[in-house]
């Protein structure tokens, strides 16, 4: 079951996890995704070089309680994306 905006793709309005080849991870509400980019609203980023916790710990906290909307909109170039999944699909650790 997606959202009520069927013309925007099945992930429109859904909170997703975007993992990147450089090790950074984003969580945000997906606006759209295609071969060029993934656009997220109300997003937060985990950068292993800047965080005391690892990506798995960060994801588990977000899976349980949600994420902080620190960035209004972020456009992530698709070639740098290694995976795109719903946050709700992240397994409990």
């Amino acid at each position: 079951m997606g959202t009520f905006h069927d013309d925007m793709g099945e992930l429109h309005g859904i909170t997703v996890v975007v993992s990147q080849h450089d090790g950074c991870t984003w969580i945000g509400r997906c606006h759209s995704e295609d071969d060029v980019e993934v656009i997220l609203h109300d997003a937060d980023q985990h950068d292993p070089a800047k965080s005391d916790e690892n990506a798995e710990q960060w994801l588990q906290r977000a899976r349980r309680f949600g994420h902080w909307p620190r960035v209004s909109t972020i456009r992530i170039p698709r070639p740098g994306v290694s995976s795109l999944v719903r946050l709700a699909q992240i397994s409990a650790g």
Binding site: M1, T3, G13, I14, T15, R64, F65, G66, W68, A88
Partner: protein
């Protein structure tokens, strides 16, 4: 900027017409979540059709279960801003999201259902999560 009342009213009434108490000020939220008030369930309602369209019927389905909290209330994000802000303060370290739901015991949050666990899911699935929380946190000790 709040949405027009004529747009929001049906979304309010979907809950209030089914026994859910509307909380419209910080004082009302504080009284509702008083430490001696037993268990309390708060629905953070929202206009968002992507998720709230499943949240409201999911919550109402859950309220038909055998075990329910002592109090059922709601604040409307983006509309009743003072009440919503206070309800979120009472959820302490939980990031703000709407729609979302929280269960309290003695004024302390014991369970939270964030938006991402609501969006794109059908009301029955959402209700199951809520009922599980009711049974874990609200069942009589001798049950």
């Amino acid at each position: 900027m709040p949405y027009p009342d004529e747009l929001v009213d049906p979304m309010r009434r979907e809950l209030s017409d089914n026994g859910v108490t509307e909380l419209k000020s910080a004082t009302e939220v504080d009284e509702f979540l008083s430490p001696d008030g037993g268990s309390a369930f708060v629905i953070i309602n929202s206009v968002c059709g992507c998720a709230a369209g499943g949240a409201r019927p999911g919550a109402l389905l859950a309220l038909q279960s055998e075990v329910t909290p002592d109090r059922i209330g709601t604040v409307f994000a983006g509309q009743d801003t003072e009440a919503t802000e206070r309800a979120r303060e009472r959820c302490s370290q939980v990031p703000p999201s709407s729609p979302s739901m929280a269960l309290f015991q003695g004024g302390e949050m014991v369970w939270f259902l964030p938006r991402h666990m609501i969006e794109g899911r059908d009301p029955q699935t959402i209700a199951l999560d809520i009922v599980n929380a009711f049974e874990e946190h609200c069942a009589p000790a001798d049950a």
